[in-house]
Amino acid sequence: MLGAGEEGAAAGRTRGLFSAYEPLPGCRDEMAAEPGALHAHWEYLAGAIGALGDAELERRNHELRRLLRENGVTYNFYEENDTVERPWSLDPIPVLLTSADWSDIEQGLAQRAELLDLVLRDLYGPRKLLKRGLLPPELVFGHPGFLRPCVGTARADGRWLTVCAADLARGPDGRLWVIGDRIQAPSGAGYALEARTALSRTLPSLYRDSHVHRLALFFRTLRGTLAGLAPGGREDPRIVLLTPGPGSETFFEHAYLASYLGYPLVQGSDLTVRDERVWLKTLDGLTPVDVILRRVDDPWCDPLELRPDSLLGVAALLQAVRRGHVAVANPLGASILENPGLMPFLPGISRALLDEELKQPSAQTWWCGDEKSRGYVLDKLDELVVKPVFPHRVDSTIFAAALASSERTDLKARIRAHPERYVAQERIALSTTPVLRAGRLEPRPFVLRGFAVASESGYYVMPGGLGRVSSSSSSFVTSNQLGGVGKDVWVLASEPERQVTLLPPVERPVVVRRGGDEVPGRVADDLFWLGRYSERAESITRLLREILLRLLATERSNLDGTVPLLLRALTLQTSAYPGFTGEDAEARLASPEAELLQLILDPRRVGGLRFNIDALARAGRAVRDRLSSDTSRVIGAIDGELARPCDLAAARESLQRLIQLLAAFVGLTTESMSRGQGWRFLQLGRSLERGLQTIALLRGVVLPAGPLVVPACEALLGILHSVKTYRRRYRSRIQMGAVLDLVLLDESNPRSLAFQLVGVEQHVIALVHDEDSGQRSRAERLALEALTTLRLFDVASVADADDEDAAHELERLLKRVAATLTALADEIATRYFQPADRPQQMVRFS
């Protein structure tokens, strides 16, 4: 980054927008004690950022957004039963905490994690807390997170709960309060890491000079602890990260953490239980799995013993856990702790189990199942936040004061009918922190998600965590979801950063090995289609560029008459019928702009460019842990093109960039992916699809050309990037025979059909095959058939395109090769991708 040193140089000279910052009256602010008066630990940051000047800060903010977008940092929302992917946004101003402030939080969270671990062990073991009356049984027995099949599965030694998260809010008195526990598969740690990475790149000198505690040790501890969970203390255990898939809210994070931690990212269907052990299904066979870091919620993890309708889990996983053959982190059943009803009882439990006072208090919470508490809650309802004890996706938090009087009466009736299902919490007026909005700093309510990870010596707390600010300035509302605006949280070291090496190095040395490329069938499927979509997008882009070149160059517009020809070819290539064919085609051919824009921009237009880009981006996300970060970034940039309405001229610019980005994608996958089976499937998808696209183009452009043969051939060479090769070779006028030889049969031309078919055959031969079969597989036979059919074709027989017989001959060839390639694609899917491998429930009886 340019001028990285500037930020610090002018520190203190001007605080620019910081002097204009006005905290909300009556609210505690993280930065300013009162307007213009900053807490001491913010002074340096204010000086440094102020000194950048407004324009430079805006530039850095823009840079930050670009980094996040290119890294594909997203958060998925559910809207009308559909998943919508949104970019995740991060505010450029971090939240600063002093070491002294942090040390209280650190101790509090570590103790809370220790306590919750004991509670979890007790509930799935002796249940003394219930027998001794320290916890009302209704809170446990009535909670859907209490999974009876998990009773008795607790680890005998060490900590059972691996990661623990809590949402913290600072009240007006300056203390931080826990407002919620996130236990079963806590999200956010990966976003915190990405926030830190992106922000430290955007504000490098400020970050360097601020002496911020690093996050890396948290993740190293996590890796060490997970490795330590392996059954029988196995060396070099196989650890996987289990995700519900690309549709889940925090899928970005799953893929990001899988790459960062070096674990394969798997879905339930990639795993199987045999002999009461968990195995990863790879193209090479079954590989044992020792530890599962799961991001699938409790009830969905095992369709045999938990939710029978789950397709996200692994049948009989719990049996493998019970037999001690696999460890799952966090343990199955942990969602019982995500129960706000526990909060009022934690102080008592802490005294009983730890003989300590609870250091990190929860917000004052009343469980309505208790008669006295219920009376209080019903009386003071307007001052409280009501939360259901049982998990609810919708409407999880009710601000009674905001309700109409009839709604309030309803709520009271619901509480009276099932008091044990509700808690009420005091409303904490959240502290605010500044966010950058339209060049100004505005106060926004702030919540911190803190993380603790088990280690041999206790729970280690991530220094910082993920900050979230709400989108409105009302000081009570923050979103329960992780969406909204993120904040990096900097814990400032009062002394220089501790030496990381002083802390327990838990990991064993790496065992050197080659390969490590175990590819599940689902991943092969996604990579194959990633290859196919990238080629589809490229072919369509090239054809569109050729069309727009002619359409927008007014002086030679339509001179050679090829535009209608190319438009019809576009319809053929995208299969977006009727398009420029069919009955009303004349009108659309005469003014093609609207149809073209739709094909370019509309994601719902099946076969169109934006549709293919979406499919490409989706496949890319599903396997992003297998791609280099540069490749993912290029996919992110491809996905960013043509995302907004524009006119044809702007679209042409975009097409130009897309061609470069798609070339970068191909280059990166060629340069930075190891030559394992995954790479094979990606390349096979590309070669096969490029073959099919070339065939479609020839059928669209050459076959109907008639009198337009020369301009059509010129356009074809342009699209296939072969103009220069042709000129170098023939230096003469366009001749059909020569053109066909170059684009059909020339195995040295990387754009020819023959080149693709040679590639297809090579990749198919290199795929994993069943053992001890001396014969060619069906896929190999199909690949050989396609290539041989083409090689035996006599170009001279069709050199004269005006000849109808010749045209038929060519048509027959192209159709036959296309059909063989399609059969090959089906064969690959059947043999390798296991599409039918879905679990079903056995019919039951009474």
């Binding site: 009302p136 009876r148 049996q319 199942g369 079903q840 429930q841």
Partner: protein
């Protein structure tokens, strides 16, 4: 309460699945081996699985019921599971229609309510709704006429059980395991486990404990007696808890107080806790199921 001399039964429960396609892998969980209870001893029980499974593992579940996990691979497209058990069941020394003394139902409700001490946790657990039996105002309303003020708990529950027997039609065509009990209540039709669920829902909706009991009922009766409903398959009924008796069973399907010809396999909150045989399979395609249960009375123990 005193018990009469015990009766011995042999139960053979045969389940056969036939599949359209080979089954690559099938994980199963079976609640088919009878448990031991205060009134019942399981003398022997054996699970025979054909084809022979790759893995069989027995354990006790959360409620103390015997449960078996097994894995089948079925190239032959067929799975047969035969559970053969011998049990000895003591009968209660009760006149027809009589129940032991018990405290007023309100007293039991308050005893188990918030802040309860020195009562079994299981009794408190069973006052709460469960996956297949959510409590509701409609169920409480149906229950209400049986629970008149001050009525002893077991009298009230016996009356409820009798009313379910009287008001509901046994109809194998009406319900499946997926039919919600609200619908069963509204239409007043169903099979034994629906009636057990209805009774459980009614009792729990008043803040009282009820649990689901899964088992069998003797197939053949002495001449001149009607054949009992629910034979030839597994059977289901329910139990409530009173401080004087502990858990006490009622069979609303036959308007009886078990055990008369009842053999208990397992108990839980509802059917979903103690499904006799369930499984998740890969492959197989469409499949059909046949179940046959034979309960035979053996010569009295010497």
């Amino acid at each position: 309460m005193s018990a009469k001399g015990p009766t011995r039964f042999r139960v053979i429960h045969r389940t056969r699945y036939a599949y359209a396609l080979p089954v690559e892998l099938c994980h199963n969980e079976a609640h088919l081996r009878p448990r031991t209870t205060p009134l019942q001893r399981c003398l022997a029980s054996r699970l025979t699985i054909d084809p022979s499974p790759a893995v069989v593992h027995d354990r006790a579940d959360y409620f103390g019921n015997p449960v078996s996990y097994f894995v089948a691979q079925l190239p032959e497209r067929e799975l047969t599971v035969v559970a053969t058990s011998e049990v000895e069941v003591a009968a209660l020394d009760l006149e027809d229609g009589q129940v032991p003394a018990s405290p007023p139902w309100e007293e039991v409700r308050d005893l188990l309510g918030p802040g309860a001490r020195n009562v079994p946790l299981e009794a408190r657990e069973m006052t709460l709704g469960s996956p297949m039996v959510p409590t509701s105002a409609a169920l409480a309303e149906f229950a209400r006429p049986s629970f008149t003020p001050g009525r002893p708990l077991l009298d009230a529950v016996a009356d409820l059980s009798r009313r379910i027997h009287r008001d509901f039609t046994y109809d194998q065509e009406f319900s499946t395991i997926a039919t919600p009990i609200a619908e069963v209540l509204e239409r007043r039709r169903g099979v034994c486990q629906d009636f057990a669920h209805i009774a459980i829902g009614c009792v729990r909706s008043l803040g009282l404990p009820a649990r689901y009991v899964s088992g069998y009922i003797e197939t053949v009766r002495a001449p001149g007696q009607p054949r009992l409903v629910g034979a030839d398959a597994s059977h289901a009924w329910f139990a409530t808890w009173a401080p004087t008796t502990g858990w006490f069973d009622f069979d609303p399907t036959n308007d009886q107080i078990p055990p008369r010809q009842h053999i208990t396999t397992a108990w839980g909150r509802d059917y979903s806790d103690v499904t006799p045989l369930k499984g998740v399979l890969f492959g197989g395609g469409e499949h059909t199921l046949e179940v046959a249960v034979d309960v035979a009375r053996l010569e009295p123990a010497a």
